[in-house]
Structure formats: C-alpha cells, structure tokens
Amino acid sequence: MTAMSALSTNMRQNRGLYGAVILLSIIYLIYNILHPRGFSSAVLIQNANESVAIVFVAMAQTIPVLLGGLDLSVGAVMTLAACIASVLVNGSPLQIVFGMVVTLAAGTAFGLCNGLIVVYGRIQPIIATLATGAIAIGLALFIRPKPGGDIDGDLNWALTNSLWDFVETYGLFDPDAPWFAPVAWIPVPLLIILVFGVCVWLPFRRTVLGRTIYAIGSAEGAAFMSGLPINRAKVAAFTLGGFFASCGGLYLAIQTASGNADITQAGAYTLNSIAAVVLGGTSLLGGMGGAIGSLIGALILRVISFYFRILSIDPLLQPLVEGIVLLAAVSLGAFRVLRVKNRLELFR
C-alpha cells in the first residue's frame, strides 16, 4: 500500500524523466544499430566524451531552474573554469590535483557569488546571471586571451578513454588482469558523470536544503512561512550550479587539453543546457524535476546530433533538420495540453 502509493507518486512526479529515459533508449539503440561499429566500447567512449561537458552544464542549469529561476551564466562559468584549468592543470601529480581543486573551487565560488547577488541583491536570477555571465567571460578572456594551454597529456588520454587505458596510462596494475576484464571497457567519462553528478546530486536532493529548493520553486511564500531556510537554499542552489558548471569546464579543458574563452560556445552551452533541462522533464516553473533528468536530456540532444554522421542528409539542410527535431522534441510535452479538460490548469 505504502510502496504502491509512493511508486505512483514517484511516477507522477517524474513522468517527464521516465519519458526522456525511454526516448533516449530508443534513439540510442537505433543509432548503435545504424552505426558500422555500433555497440562497441570505442563508440561508447566517443559518445561519452562528447557528452560530459553538456551533461554537467545541464545539471548545473537544473538547480536554479528548480528554484523557478534560470542561470544564464552556466556556459560562461564552464568556460571560465576551462580557462583556469588550462593554466593550472599541469606539472607534478600534486600540482595537477591542486589545479583541479582550484578550478572547481573557482567555479563554485562564482556560483556562490551568483547566489549572493540573487538573494541579497534581490535581482531576478535570469537577469543577474545574464550580467554575471558576461563578467565570467570577461575574466576567462583575461586569463586566456587566445586559445591554448598545456594540460597534462597523460591526463587527457587517461580521462578520455576506457578504464583499461586509464590503468595502463598510469601503470596502476596489469590492465589485462582477468578480474579487471569485465569492467575494463567502461569509459572513464561515464564514470566521471556518475561519480560527480549522481553521487553529489542524489544525496543533496535528500537533504533539507535540497528539498527546500524544490519547495521554493513550488511555492516560495509557503516555503518561507513554513520556516525553511530560503536564503541559504537559494545560495546553495547557485553554488552547486557553479560547482557542476566548473566540473564541465574542468573536463572540457582536460578533454581538449586547452582552454578557449569562446563567447559563442559559452552561449551555445547555456542555451543547450536549458533545452536539456526541459527535455529531461524539469519544469521551467520550478519545483518539479531533477538533475538526473537533465543528464538524460543532454544525452538526448547529443544523440540527435550523432545521427547526422551516419545518415546522409544534405549538409545545408542539416541545421534545418536539427532545428525542427529540437522544436519537435521540446514540443512533445505539448500533448498534455490537448488532454487538459480544465483550462485553468493551463495557467500553472
């Protein structure tokens, strides 16, 4: 009884997420079937590598969205973090770790600043982050006026391949050991997403602070009247967003072994992150959804673009097809509207 009702509530609350998972499974399956080397570790590694940054940025976007806000600085913070990493992540192993920590700390601190401006400056998140995003890009350009950087090459190779290569690069143990074989094919980027994303987000969601974020997005006044720590939760939301964005930036820097303060790329990431959040079933009004959904949403966006490489579509028609598919994908939820019988429900 309890379990049943809990399950049905869960289904109701996460309908978007489950829909996204099914959609992703279908399109990824078909992609692999069509791909000459489908269902291989090489393809999985390539797909995973390509997805890490956007997945992290989409997760970063989710948290402010749950509050009912938007963070237009996620792409810029990612870029800033990548530029910092491109300067710091090299040298001895200790220096490398130090560089990584500083990169993540910087992005997190930037998120914290966003949160403080939103909470204590009482500025709407969307517009506050539009402005801080410009500042982040400015800082990134100061750090890296032109693209480049010297990120450790081993790190680049080890983190963008399978566990086997990781072990081999650092000579941890014999990568061909039989006990290792069952997991050796797993792409490191996939593990990074799981460890940093899931192991940070899922527990956080279960804390009072995490739940407060949902409560604020759902009904801020009620959350306040109920004695929830509104300010702290908002600051935490942006801070965690900054952390995820900087995870994306750090990986991007390692993956490309360089930093690039590219304004258009930052903007594209921000916009794609919003699309991913929506595809993942999080309501832009706040209060419903979660970062796991956005992870899936980001993957959906990526897999859609994979198709252009295996299908023969006129290159000049590709942007149009891409646009139409995106529009169609985000419009999927619109079928709900046709079923709404009480028009007042449309206005929430």
Partner: protein, 354 residues
Amino acid sequence: PEVVSGPGADPSCFAPWNADTKYLQWPAQDGPYRIAVVNGFVGNTWRIQMIKTAKAFAEDPAIKDKIAEFKVVSTGTDAPAQLGAIEDFINQGFDAIVTIAVSPDGFDRVIRLADRENVVLVPFDNVLDTDAVMQVNEDQTEMGRQWAQFIIDELAAQGKTGGKILEVRGLAGNSVDRDRSAAIHETFDATGGDWEIVEVVGNWDDGTAQKVTADAIAVHGQFDAIAVQGGTTGAVQALMDAGHPMVPIAGESENGFRKLVAEHADDGLKGISIGQSPGLVAIAMKAAVSALEGNVMPQLISVPLPVATYDELEDGLNYWSDLPDNFFTVNEFPPCGVNISGPAIMAQSEADVN
C-alpha cells in the same frame, strides 16, 4: 604517418609553407576513399560557400572516381562535438577527415586516434598549433603584412610617411585575428614612420564593422587609411555614409568590397583585396586524397594568397557585379585543378533547384 624528406608530390599545388616544412607520408591505400568534412559553425556565407564548394568538388570528374563516400557535417562552435564527430568518423572507418578546427588546440586525442587507424586528418583555414597533422592554409601573417605594405605604399605615393590608420579587427581571441593584427602592426612599426593605429573590433561581420567604423569616424574625424580584417563592405559603407574622403583601404575578398573598389578607385578608394578562400576546402580534400594514395606531402601546405588590387579588378573575372555582396570572390586555384568559380557554384545549385 611517417616523417620523410621532400620534395612532395605536385608542388605547384601542394606548396610547402617554407623551407623548414616537414614532409609526411602515409601508407598507400586502395581507393576509392571515404572522406568526411567536419565543419564547425555554419551560419555565415563563407561557410555555406565552403560547403557548396566541397560538395561540388566531390563531384568533379578529376576526383569523383576516387571518392566512395562523402559526408559533410556541421557541429556548431562546440569543441567536444567537433572532436566527437571526427572520432566518430574514425570509428566508422572513414579514410580521411577534412576539418575547420573550432579551436587551434585540443585535438591531441583525435590526432592520436587518427594516427593509430591511419586516417588522414586535414585541418584547413583555422589550423592547429601542431605539426603532427597535414594542414592547409593561407599565410595569415603574410596577409597582414601585404595589407599593411599596400597602405604604406599608397600613402607614400601621396607623400605620407605617417598618419592615422583605422584597423578593424576580427573576432577577439581568435588566432587568425591575432596573426593578422600582429603582422599589420609589425609592418607599420618597421617603417619607422609616425603611425597612430586606432583599433576597433568588427568581428569579421559587415554590420559590426560598419557600426564601429562609423563610430570611429565620428570620434576621430579623419583617417589616412583603413585596414579591415573582415566585413570590409560594411566598413567602406560607413566611410561613404559619413562622407569621409576616399582613402586607401586593405580588406578581405568579399564581392561587395571589390564592387565598391572597382567603382570608386578613381575617387581615391584604392584598395587591396586579399581573402581567405572557401575554395581551401577543395585543396584540403585533394591533399587528403593525394596522401591516401601514398604520396609524400608537406606537413603545412601554403595556398598562395589570392591578391587583387584596385587596378587589377575586372568584372566577371575576379568580381561579379551581378552577384551578391556577401559572396567571396576567390574560389578557384588553377594550379591545383580546383576550378569551381563563384558563379559556377551559384549556377550549379540553381540548376539543382529547377
């Protein structure tokens, strides 16, 4: 590939960058080949023209039989997506991948993978800061130098050895912008004249270039000459709208710019037009095929700068008064057998449509 010694095949087309350029050789493979073009951004005329040139060249009798499969994808400005697409094509077993890099760095991994699979990776236009792959480009530094030299010479002809120059720069942070600008400054400095160079950022875009040029004229009054990295038509338009006297101008190879120069050269709009050509893609494709055939290739292929000065302009030959302004005039490279002229590209697709 193996590093070998030169000379390379077909030097009139695949000219080495300079005397120090290495030569590379891949094991010869049997054709026909599978070739992919991985483009980044797609929302401007240059890129569209590039894609059309690539498609047209793939159908060219000279090369058609050597190509079994030809694919073009545009990944946007997203570095991971571009790297992913390249890697995907390597996974799919493509033989050569031609690309415009979204960033001069960050290709270490795909270069390594390409080498492992003997895939020929050919960056062109926006090339990489590495000598591990074969690349095709025009010499940006040389371009900046020629622009500056032209202005210096034109002003010298007017008896000026110094003056106020407006430099309209490109996209901030881009290496092409950096190289061209540095060369311009060096060349002016080298004359020892009294030059004041006012820099504005035009983003290689006609509208922005026009706006910042107009602003600069409003604030600074008059310039002795103008150097524009891109969006030249816009800059000239601003000049004319402001009633600024016609001055020597160095710019890109947009059709609109050449039209204006042809029309107003006699009024003083003495221009030099050098451009990065969308036709580079064809040379890159041809180089890829040549490498796959086992020929020795220069690591860095220098494509001659397509220069046209005001006195050389000829309608229907190096500019077309009936074609759009946005069109990039230089498209063919006869020494390479790349003979897809601008109007030909346009005509071809109109036929497609009908």
